[in-house]
Amino acid sequence: MARTALPGRLTWQAATVTAVRQETPSARTLVLDVPGWPGHLPGQHLDLRLTAEDGYSAQRSYSIASDWPGDGPVEITIQRLEDGEVSPYLTDVVETGDKIELRGPIGGWFVWRPAQPAPVLLVAGGSGVVPLMSMIRERGRLRARQPFRVIYSVRTPEDACFADELKRRVRDDAGLDVHFVYTRSAPDGWPAPPKRIDVATINSHGWPPDFAPDVFVCGPTSFVETVADILVALGHDPKKIRTERFGGK
């Protein structure tokens, strides 16, 4: 496997929340001003640290949702887990003007590099769409030619993050295709009943293995396991399948 230069030291720094955006009833985007942010590649994440009055602290990883045009804010999108320690704080308590400690960017593998000419397949389960959104945005900004197919599994239509933006991009970004999978309830008039992602979905809405696409799969662990297994069974080269597992069952 190719060797890459080792990046420099990652230090904690205070970011300021400059805006918050409700994406769905249970997911929110934090727009962060991070002084001196070195920039990031689409797919990377950052580590965030919360500290209580008594010094107790908790760290979690969050993928970066925004692309990087050279400056500007860094956006993360958080899905609230009802019994979670950190995510409900980020979706319900944090307000514009608050400071949050973070460090990053982190990760050099789950990254789409626009210089890679292969077609791309992105498969998202729930909040797993976040790092994939950064790839879609980067591609749009660069007007990159690689065709992107996106399969995005959500419980119900109202659980889809970035739905309006995705709709707009499918119209405006040539070569971008998005297919939704609804697992609990589908929109009125949807041609199929709700179902989990399966071989047929990936066969019809992914790329054939012969096209040797770069594949990125992200979401809860069991979702990623299922999708990666299907891709391998369909004949995709395991080395071309990059995965990010967010946790959970």
Binding site: M1, R3, T4, L6, P7, G8, R9, L10, W12, A14, D47, R49, L50, T51, A52, E53, G55, Y56, S57, A58, Q59, R60, S61, E85, Y89, V93, D98, K99, I100, E101, I106, G107, G108, W109, F110, T221, E225, A228, D229, L231, V232, P238, K239, I241, R242, T243, R245, G247, G248, K249
Partner: protein, 199 residues
């Protein structure tokens, strides 16, 4: 101490005893891997130690599982922040596997099915600190968690405990493996919070 997060109390659902800095306790067994989970049939499994002189020591599944094994109970700490206490494993000590290996090299590159690698100093593998584990919680190790067999080095962050391990290669110089080249720490001591390069 970091800046205070307004209105954050923390949940601290588990009165966690001694966890390394930045870690939280989980009772699940989360999964961190870079790609699909490989399924490796036991009749195709093998494990090889290659010395700096190119000498190979190879075990197939039958020979490997015939070696003396140990029950291991240890805490494990993943770089993605979860820790799990008192996990129980069965495996072969690397002291056993290295018994007939002649080497003067100080570093090891662990190789796994699929091309993943991770680097470890040899002294961290010996003296009862590391195993090739093939059972978890009394059951054959799940492919998702690295089965049929994975490296187990509980005193380092868990990415060093390479899943689907199929070989160790001796090296004179320390070189970054797969995760390390992607920005993770060369050594990875959770008690010193060596998550990333430069920590």
């Amino acid at each position: 101490m970091g800046i205070i997060s307004r209105g954050f109390g923390g949940r601290r659902r588990d009165s966690a005893p001694d966890l390394p800095p930045g870690q939280y306790l989980t009772h699940d067994f989360p999964v961190l891997s870079a790609g699909p989970t490989p399924r490796i049939p036991l009749d195709r499994w093998s494990f090889t130690i290659t010395t700096e002189a190119g000498q190979k020591h190879t075990w197939d599944w039958a020979r490997f599982t015939a070696l003396p094994s140990e029950e291991i109970t240890r805490d494990i700490h993943c770089v993605t922040k979860w820790s799990k206490l008192g996990t129980t494993w069965k495996g072969v000590s690397l002291d056993t596997l290295f018994a007939d290996v002649e080497t003067a090299a100080d570093y090891v590159m662990a190789h796994s099915k699929g091309g993943y690698t991770t680097n470890v100093p040899l002294e961290d593998l010996l003296d009862g600190q590391a195993w090739i584990a093939y059972e978890f919680d009394g059951e054959p190790l799940d492919p998702e968690h690295g089965g049929p067999a994975r490296l187990l080095i509980p005193h380092l962050y868990f990415w060093k405990s390479a899943k689907w391990v199929n070989g160790l290669e001796m090296m004179h110089e320390d070189e970054p493996g797969f995760w390390e080249a992607a920005g993770y720490h060369m050594y990875g001591d959770p008690w010193h919070e060596q998550r990333y390069q430069g920590d």
